[in-house]
Each structure stands twice: as structure tokens, then as C-alpha cells.
Symmetry: D2
């Protein structure tokens, strides 16, 4: 049930052993712009995003699993930022304030009950296009890139958990997201995946049970396209230029999203998606699938085994 | 600036001298379902809508202009309904409660400062699919219709005014919508069109200056499609079956929507649209176009003269 | 190498134990029109086809395999019809003339070296739209149907063989088709699939080695759509209305076609396709894939096991 | 009626006062590759073309009208080349052999009865991708370009005439093209436009009456896309990067093509198109529109005045 404390998913920090190759992938294939460099990090944004960045790539040695630096949400306002801090402090999940980062003001770090590194901020720097990138369409801050198949904006993250329910309850009951959908095991009713959203987008955080029961991980980061065709064009480019594709282009029954999953050079799974529905009702009834219904499949095929890997 | 008093545009009542022909158009061409009949009215809904109806067609003799019965919004909750009533009563715009209508509970009628017949309600009856229409995709309450080019949901209304600014200020400052975009006359800054939204959809109410300075009218009612191709298919069907088309398929620069405008048999202009952007920022800065920029045109052409007619 | 003896694939006769259910599927889901009924047969055509029919459904008890009645080609002219007859007679493959069928003139039946029932004709009856179906677009003989996701035209057949090479040589060297593509086993070079075409369409007859080595069969009959989106809409409809889907929507690397495979109620596999390339060069060099390249897959996934079944 | 003397439109030479800017447009926006430079000329090809080039840009001072250097067709074989030469020589339209050009063998120049500079050749050099451009899809000789919205192949030319009929009769009766469509003036029956094709593409040469009655000109050169969305993406890019657009994206009723018309920097009108139908029947009956039916318009709008300019 919306509390309107969080207004949107703001940015994701991905750790990569090959920060330059990763940045080249997001720049050349996904048409993203580099908005800053600082130390071991490269900051990037999609063409229709007003914020300074939605993606921070940070150089780090490869561990056992692709490592997410942090996942940042924008509060709904300055008071809502304080309310959120009070809530997570009250739960003993707070980790303290930072002075912020390039592109946004002070931020509060906390953990989900499963250990995911979350952050919340309010003040944000609007990105200003250099003269040669400023265009005639004012509802996006820059011209459409001419490179690859450009993504429009960050869409959602999928985090993996030892157990879905406690994380979902934290995000929904405490942070005030809407519980849009869930898939549960037939009989036991154990949650396998839940889709939650801070706004009308059908989900900006999805929560998945890790097949090995590992906690605090990430399955994928998703970017949005305006059309299915642009996702299929990206798939063509991935085939030609040797970018590993794992699943799709196809369509999920749950969420109704049209999707493609690929791996960026640093090893992170990236989803490209479009379509789906909006959650508009304040009294939305969580849509429920049984695992036996396989809500991941709208059309044909099975979930590829590789999708369960980190 | 969002106050979260209204959660969404709920339904629109269009008066038509040919209620059966109108209903046949929405059923056969736009794939809508009839959910009830009562007296002179036929109630209809699109395939992905959970509410009882989003369109009410009421038989009425043709006047000088296509006549809108009322435009109904759903409150964000029961208290927000009361808050909205207090606000419009305080402004002397209230018209009183009704017991509701088929498909929703008690509703409060009021007028905009320009005289548009608005209504707000909270309680709503969820539509239950008969057995033969219930399908395997649970994020919509029924199977995809097999008729024509089925619309997914009601999207927005465009109302016409003697002056835009007072109506926009009422909707934004009093009802708590976000002011997404505006186009103003070069030099004078007079508002020609403003896009406002109660949620993240880029607009659910657009407000246009009437070319003759007439008040309280409607320019069009818009329904949403998942893909541009389905709108182009509808255009093909309109060409073949003699449905008058006025503009499109094409794309607006403002809103970035892909669109088609047609006339239903009762004389109402219906827009079919998809794409566009979401308004996610609580501190969204209203996007501003000058009339000379012609934000109605993304690609080529001019606004057809016929579009200015009621 | 084109001899221009055959101008196009004309029609396919499928035997079905459930002729009415089959006809309902092609009518309701694929938007085809019934053009005649005669005895145990129903004749159907797609909306953009000028011929009387492209599909003949004939009631027959179900055998071990879905059974094709015959596959008919239109000659390039009356002399070319006679030349074709002389060629197949000379090879001892002729089966004799028939007086024709509803919708076309005299036809000559023959067999491929693997036993497929082929037919060739020249004279054809143009289908005339009844008044209510005649439309304003003169490059197709009727209005776009409002039912389901209407196919534009018959595209190709895929026949299965005990060995591909002799059938391919017959079709290319004797009947004068172009050999567009082939996939061969690594090392041995044995043909697994060959695509051949009588005109510029990238293939109208594809020839596949049967996994069990059986001769004279058919894998699928394919119809053409103008857009990928309409194929994805059909997939949505198949999901909702319980039509079995076997593979797709996805894209083949060989042929570059976007595709979906479904089963009609009588058990025949039907492909829906669009895109691909044209063969324009009279000296076209057959495109060659190795089996290890898996030319069936452009994006992700594997060929579903079920696709190898008849 | 096809004589199969010509197999396809091969390439077009456009004279431009700004050859580098023109080449940059075709390279950056349409994703074409430069295959050679020689003297004042730059040779270019689209990603799916096997020939050395389909476009030759030659530096030339701007005259009164955008100037076409020549329009080249590939014969159907070496004998057909000789037959074509005999035909045009017999009509007194021959201009003699050249040794060919970069990328193709000897060629014969001739004029249409209205003075258009035509050429026919048979021998052609296949373009070989450098190692970094060779890709895994063998039905096109290179990887999909990552720049702009890449065109797949040259599609057709539209030539302008003092009178359509003599040119159409020359192309159909002498060169052996099929007369696919025509639009005629109501009452008089004078041809305004005729679509003709050397193969199954619905037209590779269209012939239009010049509004001023001028002879020997060109209205536009057209390139093919696989999807409508890619054309709409190009329109978005043209809006952002200041490429003049004249008409579309929209759809023609005649030909059923989805189209966009833009101007390249040298002043030539370039059409981008997809869709349409194939001409498969050797006894195709020319589709006839009356001028009053306005076959240029499938959906809404009128032909922009600017489209009649050279």
C-alpha cells in the first residue's frame, strides 16, 4: 500500500572488474551517456533521464557473484526522506548518512532484512545537456543518441533473497511500496517472486528467492525501451557483436513485459523491457500466480537454466 | 504538485444521438465489452480494466456540440474523497452527492471554473468476467478480445475552455494534479494547452483553449493501446469500414504520444494513443513549449483544421 | 537457378479429422474467409489473396501423421505448364491430369522423388468480394477482416524427407526453383534443410530431413503477416483461447524470418511469419550454414523437441 | 508483363554539391557503408546488399534541379544484357557501352523516351566485408551497423516525366517490367503515376507526371527498412538532428508502403519505406486508382505541396 515516501528508483551502482568495457557496452550498445568520472567510477544516464545519472559503474575485483554497490531510491520529498530514515533506524537497519555523491545530495544507507545495500536521497542535480546534445523535444533533456539501440530510462531491479517474504514485507509495509504481484509455490504458498512498486510503474523492485538460498544478491538491472522493435534490434546487435544473450526477446505473463536478458562485459545481467501495465488503484489487490502456472512464460519456452545463476 | 487526492481518471459519460451505433463502434472496432444497460445508457469497459466501466454512453438528442455527460475521477481513498468535496464546496463549485451509479458508490458532482461536469467517487465495483471470458493472464480481468483492434484502457480526456489558466490552476492547485506540460503564445505567454496528471501517466486531463472562446466543452476522449502497430491496424480498419479519421497515425512532440483521432458514430472525437513518458518527479518542472514550436507535431504536417471543431 | 516455370505456391490441401473446428480456427483466429464448400472440403483464402483459395481443408480420419492432401503451384503461363508436365513425365514422376478443382482449371499431379503430392495448374479463378467486403484499397480484393489477427497470404510449406538432397535437386534442377539456403552437417556435408524459391520470396518450399528418416511428409504450412506485432498479438490470442503454441514468437537466423508455430485443431503445424529477405540475384550463391551454427536460432533458446514431431 | 530481361534495380548515382555532407548523412543516419572513393565520387552500400554499391554520390555544382547521374539496372544474365541493348538500340535510345565502373563490369547507357539516364549491366563485384564487419548472419554480408537507423537495401526510384504513358510503355513493353499500378485523371484517364517492377517487389521504378511538365527528372530515391518502427526512429533522429522531413511517417494506399520522405544535404529527396505487397502473378491486372481516390493517402492528411518540387 503506497505511503508515497519513495517516488522512484533513482540509480544502481554495479561493481565490475572491467569498468571501461562495461561503460563502452552501455555507451555503444544501449546508447547511454557518460555524465561523470570520479576515481574508480563512471556515471551514466539514459537519454530521457533528467537526473545526473541512473547507473554508477565502479571498478572492483570479481568476487564469487556479480556485486551490486548500492541501489538508490529517491524520496518523495525532504520530509519523506526523514520519515524513511526514522523507519529504517527504528528497525535497526540503518547504516548512516553520507554526504551524497556526484549528482545528488546527502543520502542515507540502510540494509533490507536480507542484507541488500539500499540508499535513499532527495536532492538531485539535474543533468544539463551540452549545446550539441540539446534538442527540440523538451520532455527529454537531450537528443536521441545515434548509437546502438538507446534505452529510455532505468526501470527496475530484481534482487535475490534467502526468503522473499521478509524482504517484501519490509519494502511494502515499511517503505510503503505497493505489492503488485506474487508467485507462490503450489500448496505451501511460499513466495518465489514478488513485484513491488513505489509508484504506478508495475514494478521497480522485484524480489526473487535465490535457488541456493543465498541472501542479499541481485539478479538483474532493467532499462526501459519505448518499443518492442528496439529491443529486437538490440538482440540483432547482440548477435552480431558477440554480446551474450540469456533469454528473449519474449514476453512475461506476470507483468506482461516484453523482455531481453543479456550480460554486460562485467558479468551483470541486464534486462531490457517495455510494455506491461500500470498499477493505478490505491487498493490494488496483489495479483497471484501459482508456480505451476509459470507466470514467467507468456508464449512458449521455459526459463533457461542460466537465468538462475547470479 | 501531487496531493494524492485523486488516484486516476475513472470514466467518461458521452451523450450520443445514436447510442446503439456508438456502442457497436466501441464494441466492434475498439474491442470493448458491454458491462451493463440501464434506461438510455450503455456501460462499457476495455479488456484490461478492473472497474465496472470506463465509458457510459447515454442517448440524447444532438445539440450544437458533442455533449459530455460527466467526467469521473476516482479519489485516492475514502478520506481523500471527503477532502476533495470540502475543497470544491469551499470554492462554491460543488453540486451535491448522488447515490452513485451502476458500478460505483456515492459520488460528488462539481464543476470546474469553466463549467465542465466533474465527479469524484471512491467505492467501485470490480468487474467479474463470465466464465468464457476469464483467461490465464491475471493482470487483466479477461481474455484479449478477438474483435477489431482492442483498446487496453481509458487514458485521458481533453477539455476545452474559454481560458486555460483558471481551469489548470483549479485542477493543479486545488485537486492536486501535477502540471506536466504547457504551450504558451509567444510574447504574451497565454496558455493554449496544459497537460495535467493525477498520477504518473503523463496526462489524464489536458486543457485546451477553445478557438471560439467557448467554455465547458470536450475535445476528445482517449484510449490506450500497448503498441503503435495496433493503432495503425485500427487506422486500416477505419479506412476499410468508413470510420471518419481526422488526424494521424502520427506522433505528438509534446507528450511524445503516438496517436490517431477518429469520430465515433455519435460525433465524439476519440483519440487512440500509446507511448509517451511518465511523470515520476514530485518536483517536476512543467515542460514549456512556445506556440511557435508547434509541439503538436513531432514529425511532419500541420494540425488539421477539423481538429479545432467540437 | 530460376527457370520461371513456376510463378508461385498456389494452395495447400490439409486433411483434418475435424474440418469444422479447423475451419473455425482459420476463420476466427487467422481471419481467413471461406470461399467455398464442396463435399468433405472447405476452401479458404487470406484477405490479400486474389486467387479463389490458398487453403483446402478436407475431412479425413486421423492417420499416424498429419496428412497433406496436395501442394499446388501455379505455373508461369500455359506453355510453362506443359513444359513442367513434360519434365515430370520424363522423370517418371507424373500422375496425370485432373479437371481441376473449384477455383482453378486443369491441374497435373505428380510426386517428388520422396513421394510428396505436388500439383501444378495455370488457370485460376479470381475471387470476387461480395459487396459488403469490397473495400477502398484496390491492391487487395477485400476489406481487412475484423477477426483475430488476420494473415495476409500463404507464404511457404516445409516438407519432410528421408533425404533432402534428391528432393532439393528435383525442385531446383528440374522445376527451376532457386536454392536460397542450406544447412549441412559439419564434416559430412549432408543436407539437413534447404530453402528453395520459385520467385523472389526467400523460400516458398523448404525441405527438411525427417528425424526418423520418414519420407513424403509435411512439417508445416506458413502464412504471412505484414508486421511482427500482429504475430505477437496472435500469440496473445493463442494463450488466452487455448491454441497450442510450439515455438516463438522469435526469429530464425536462416531466412531472417520472425515466426510463431502453432497447431490448428486438426493437428497440423502452422507457421506465422514476416520479415526475411528477398532473393533477387539470378546468380544467387546458396547461403550455407553448418548444423553447429544452429541457423534456426537468431536470438536465444533451442529448437523445442516438439518441433521435430510431425 | 515480365520478360525477365532485368533482374533488379542496381544502383543510383546522385549528383550533389556537397558530396562529403551527403555521404555523412547516408553513413551516420542511414547506416550505410562507404565502399570506395574515386575522383569526385563516393560509393556506398546498405548492410544487406551483396553488390559493391547501390549509391554513387558525385560532386557537381547545383543546377536548377537535383540532378541524377544515372539509374542502373542489373540484367537477368549476359544474354539478357545483349537483348536489352538490341531493344534500346532498335528504338534509337542507345548511348553506347562504357567499360563499367568500380564494382561492376561493362555497362550500356541509354535514355528513356523522356530523357532519363538509364544504364544496364550484368557483371557485378560482390562486396567482401573486412574482418571486423563480418558477422554470424550469412544472408547479409556484414554486421548490422550501430549507427542511426540503418537501411537494409535500395528499393526503388521515382522518376518524373513530361508524360507518363510513353515512359511507362517503354519500361513495360520494351524493358519487360510488370505494370503494377496506375492512377489516372478522372474522365480523361491520363496517367498521373504508374508503378512498374522488374521482379516481385511491388515497384522498383515509379513514373510520375511532373507538375510543370518537365522531362527527365527524378522525384526520389527509396531505401528499404525491415520494420515501421525503424522508420519512425529515423524520423525521431531527423527531428533531433535537423534533417528536413517532407512527409510521413505515414502509409500510401497505392503500394500499401509505410513511408517517410526526407532531404539529404545535397538536396535529393530520399524515401524510406517498408511493407507493401508483392506482385506474384504473371498475368497481374494493373491496379487502377482514379486521381479523385487519392491513392497516396491511406490514413489522413494531404500530399504536402513541397513533395511536388524537384
Amino acid at each position: 500500500m503506497w505511503k508515497h515516501l519513495v517516488s522512484q528508483l533513482g540509480h544502481v551502482e554495479l561493481k565490475t572488474p572491467t569498468v571501461e568495457e562495461s561503460a563502452a557496452f552501455f555507451h555503444d550498445m544501449l546508447g547511454m551517456e557518460e555524465s561523470a568520472r570520479d576515481g574508480d567510477s563512471i556515471y551514466m544516464r539514459a537519454y530521457a533521464e533528467f537526473h545526473h545519472h541512473s547507473l554508477k559503474l565502479t571498478e572492483a575485483p570479481r568476487g564469487d557473484r556479480p556485486d551490486v554497490g548500492h541501489i538508490a531510491f529517491r524520496a518523495h520529498g525532504p520530509e519523506q526522506l526523514d520519515q524513511l530514515v526514522a523507519i529504517v533506524e527504528g528497525l535497526g537497519l540503518g547504516e548512516g548518512w553520507t554526504d551524497g555523491d556526484i549528482g545528488h545530495g546527502k543520502a542515507f544507507r540502510f540494509k533490507t532484512p536480507d542484507g541488500h545495500p539500499f540508499e535513499v536521497f532527495w536532492e538531485v542535480e539535474e543533468w544539463q545537456a551540452p549545446e550539441d546534445l540539446a534538442g527540440p523535444v523538451h520532455t527529454r533533456p537531450q537528443k536521441l543518441p545515434t548509437r546502438g539501440a538507446p534505452v529510455r530510462r532505468l526501470d527496475h531491479v530484481n534482487i535475490t533473497c534467502s526468503a522473499v517474504k521478509p524482504v517484501r514485507e519490509f519494502i511494502v509495509d515499511e517503505l510503503g511500496f505497493m505489492h503488485a504481484e506474487m508467485a507462490v509455490i503450489d500448496g505451501t504458498g511460499e513466495e518465489l517472486i514478488s513485484l513491488t512498486t513505489s509508484n504506478n510503474i508495475n514494478h521497480d523492485v522485484s524480489i526473487t528467492k535465490h535457488p541456493n538460498g543465498w541472501s542479499g544478491g541481485i539478479n538483474h538491472t532493467a532499462f526501459w525501451y519505448d518499443t518492442r522493435d528496439e529491443i529486437m534490434k538490440l538482440a540483432d546487435l547482440c548477435r552480431d557483436y558477440g554480446v551474450p544473450m540469456e533469454w528473449g526477446p519474449s514476453r512475461h505473463r506476470g507483468s506482461e513485459l516484453f523482455f531481453l536478458y543479456v550480460r554486460e562485459p562485467g558479468g551483470h545481467r541486464i534486462e531490457l523491457c517495455t510494455g506491461g501495465y500500470l498499477v493505478l488503484a490505491p487498493d490494488w489487490k496483489t495479483v497471484r500466480y501459482l508456480a505451476s502456472e509459470n507466470q514467467a512464460i507468456y508464449w512458449t519456452g521455459e526459463i533457461p537454466e542460466v537465468m538462475y545463476g547470479d
